[in-house]
Amino acid sequence: MDALMLRFLQGYVRGTFGVPVWQTICRRADLPVETFEPMLRYAPGLADQVAAEAAAVLGRPVETIWEDLGTYLVTSPGHEGVRRLLRFGGIGYADFLHSLEELPGRARLALPDLDLPDLDLPEIRLTEIAPDRFVLDCRAGLRGTIRVLVGMLTAMADDFGTLCLIEAEGEGRIAIRILDRAHAAARPFDLALPEG
């Protein structure tokens, strides 16, 4: 997961704050490289370490940076693929939430090679407390994962046109409360990938 998170973080910081800021972060983190490859392996925990440097350089809490990264992944046109893969989860936001438990299974289907212990996919468990109240528990090796999820869930709620209250509750737990399922029009989603 570190490789993927580092790659995302790199894209987010460079795209939002500019390349020089990213270079400063890499220098401070004492990294030998400035670009991360999502398909390669990096030391476990490196993403948390780089995020901590990003927090120091940008002068914002690391939690905010991870949450913004989650939002960026869903909303940035350059990562349309992430949003699309998440939208395959269901017709409505509640369906989508339930589909999150299948996420590791879907990832393994797409990339059988992912099924390696050192890849450390997050474990996600969704509990429906009431039709409009959910608790999502997530166990992941990276501390930032839960915050990235908060950002993604918030952005996906917008995507489905659903009004929600989403809050991180301590380490590894997110509380979700659906206030209005048809708050706004959902963003269009074509099952077929646009050609070209």
Binding site: P38, L40, F88, R106, A107, A110, A192, L193
Partner: protein
Amino acid sequence: MERDPDRPVPEQAMLARFMPMHLLLDREGRVLGAGPTLRRMLQRPDLAGARFEDLFEVRAPGGAVTADQVLARAGHRFRLVARNGVRAGLRGMGERLPDGRMLMNLSFGIDLIAAVRELGLTDADFVATDLAMELLYLAEANAAVTRELRGLNLRLEGARLAAEEEALTDPLTGLRNRRAADLVLARLCAARMPFGLLHLDLDYFKSVNDTLGHAAGDHVLEVVGRILRAELRVEDCAARIGGDEFLVLVVKRVDLQVLRGIADRIIQRISAPIPVAGKVAQVSASIGIVRSSDLAAPDPVRLMALADRALYAAKRAGRGRSIRLRSAAD
């Protein structure tokens, strides 16, 4: 149209819910009902009562035309194409019901992605148990991973080329280095390609270093590098193979006049005074010339030994000149 009055409408609604691509036919093969996704594909307001064979062309089993023939021959698995021009094919199974009606359940099979695009289908067109969504998801995830891998390959290839270039280049002069020159020389010999070899050593270079300093010496080497690049063609190879020692491989040139001409021009230009930090460095060059044709079987080690001796002879003969040895016996 045949309809059993004892069967209530909910049966159709139930079929539509579980099988959005079903086709219910009367015993003669005329449409009694169809699931919503299939109706969407056929796009016919007058679907009820239409004949199976007017709607579909049977691709397998071969020779079957009517619904009856299809079910009799391959009810467990058949393939159809709609006659309305939709390109996505259909796969299906079916059976004659006890009351004589025929029930078929169709699917897009491997044409799913094309069908979704062609018909603008949405997730509401598929039932929860259908793996269509998983297939679409997989195709898309796969495309994303492939794209990422292609990008990685390109980036790695770029890095590899840069590293290779760096490993073969002398950083000070921008000429090739010893390793690169050895590779080119070995390749030319192996390919039996004719070439001329100039082994060049600077004269009086040590005194530039001693009197003007190493920075001035480096500057002189850079100037020599520029001269060699200017005097040679891109297909030739000029390398710095030692401190003030250079090797030039002139490809496909064994004419002695030509090689001498190149050597003398290089010596002449190197012998011109080189201004450096307000002073002037004065060097010259000695060159030993050999040709691949000087040996019956060109071999890098023997050619270099010969060139070395020619260079030594040039130095001994007073420097600032080029010498060619005719054979090892000279």
